[in-house]
């Protein structure tokens, strides 16, 4: 699958479609579950993929889709991507995808590493996206899988830092204390600070469901650029975790994304061009919400 960068700009959907006011939330699944049954032949579901794990850059939020589907018997919940723990800024993973057995699916968010694992269709990109690295995205899904095309891709595309872009699910922030992109249902993770500004970016908020992103960690007040961890993005059913502060050379860990798709925060660096062993944030696991 080839990604056309020109099609990846974060954008607000033309029509924001909320959950119908004729139904109520009946169940929330944050783990794969079988043997389900519902009293109605059709139910309304929101499906969120796992958030991307983070390195220096914030992880992207998991994709979110919603719509009416035939009643189903099982849900599969995607895991959040793991964090970079090797200080090489390349070992965090994209989140897993989630789906219900009658068809609706949502992709995982992209990782916040410098060589990002591409997200599945519908997930937001992680914080560092370079055209040289976007060639291997794959998906078992097609656009027609989505009953309501609500799981768009938001992203930060750039090479020199900045905030994550807004979208249905928020993109992760890029290099240099960028703030994670806000999303309608899940926010992206914030980035670690840079050498010139040790403070780290906060995670993006989830606007519709009202959860907040974690705050970014503070930097070293001596001005040597030591950074804290970025904040985790908000999930669809939980707040994002706060990034750790950075006293001395110790970098704070990024906050984990909230369950349901928040991206993890970035890890800090030591202000001397190297990176500490502090981990990035773990992406939140996916979730499936059922209404009828």
């Amino acid at each position: 699958m080839t990604i056309n960068l020109s099609s990846l700009s974060g954008s607000t959907p033309q029509t924001i479609i909320g959950v119908p006011n004729t139904v109520n939330l009946r169940a929330t699944y944050t783990s794969t579950t079988n043997g389900l049954s519902f009293p109605n032949s059709q139910v309304y579901v929101i499906v969120a993929g796992g958030g991307g794990g983070a390195a220096t850059y914030g992880g992207g939020a998991g994709g979110v889709t919603q719509g009416w589907v035939p009643s189903f018997t099982s849900v599969v919940v995607g895991a959040g991507g793991n964090a970079d723990t090797q200080s090489n800024n390349t070992s965090s993973n994209a989140g897993g995808y989630s789906y219900v057995s009658s068809g609706l699916a949502a992709g995982g968010g992209g990782s916040g590493s410098s060589a990002p694992r591409a997200p599945y269709l519908g997930g937001a990109w992680g914080g560092w996206v370079n055209s040289n690295n976007i060639s291997s995205a794959s998906s078992i899904f097609t656009a027609s899988t989505y009953l309501t095309a609500f799981g768009g891709t938001s992203n930060y595309v750039g090479t020199n830092g900045g905030n994550g872009a807004f979208g249905v699910s928020g993109g992760g922030a890029g290099y240099g204390y960028g703030v994670g992109g806000a999303g309608l249902y899940a926010g992206g993770g914030g980035a670690a600070g840079s050498n010139t500004n040790g403070a780290s970016g906060a995670g993006g908020v989830a606007i519709v469901v009202g959860y907040s992103g974690g705050t970014g960690g503070t930097g070293n007040t001596s001005g040597n650029g030591t950074s804290g961890g970025g904040g985790g993005g908000a999930g669809i059913v939980a707040n994002g975790g706060a990034g750790g502060n950075a006293p001395g050379n110790a970098a704070g860990n990024g906050g984990a994304g909230g369950a349901g798709g928040g991206g993890g925060g970035g890890y800090g660096n030591n202000g001397a061009g190297g990176q500490t062993a502090a981990s990035g944030g773990v992406g939140g696991s996916g979730a499936v919400l059922v209404y009828y």
């Binding site: 944050t30 783990s31 794969t32 579950t33 079988n34 796992g50 794990g53 220096t56 099982s74 849900v75 599969v76 919940v77 995607g78 895991a79 991507g81 793991n82 800024n89 390349t90 070992s91 965090s92 993973n93 994209a94 989140g95 897993g96 995808y97 989630s98 057995s101 995982g108 990782s111 590493s113 410098s114 060589a115 694992r117 599945y120 560092w128 370079n130 040289n132 690295n133 291997s136 794959s138 078992i140 090479t159 020199n160 290099y175 670690a192 840079s194 050498n195 660096n269 202000g271 001397a272 061009g273 190297g274 990176q275 696991s285 996916g286």
Partner: protein, 69 residues
């Protein structure tokens, strides 16, 4: 609660959360290869040789885009 990797053609197609292996296996397919990720480190796109998971090799970032530059 644990993470389980879903294997397709020697590669990790998805990583899911489930209470146990039987739950994960039943939900995805009785014929799929499902392996518990006990270290919580496996991601989509990793290889699986039947025993071990192998992380893919990715291109290093350009120097001007490296954190701390």
């Amino acid at each position: 609660m644990a993470n389980f990797a879903i294997i397709s053609n020697g590669a990790v197609d998805n990583v899911i959360v489930a209470d146990n292996l039987s739950n994960a296996q039943a939900a995805v397919s009785p014929f799929a290869t499902v392996v518990e990720d006990t270290d919580f480190k496996v991601g989509v796109g990793w290889r699986y040789d039947g025993t071990n998971f192998v992380e893919p090799v990715y291109a290093a970032p350009a120097a001007q885009e490296t954190q701390g530059a």
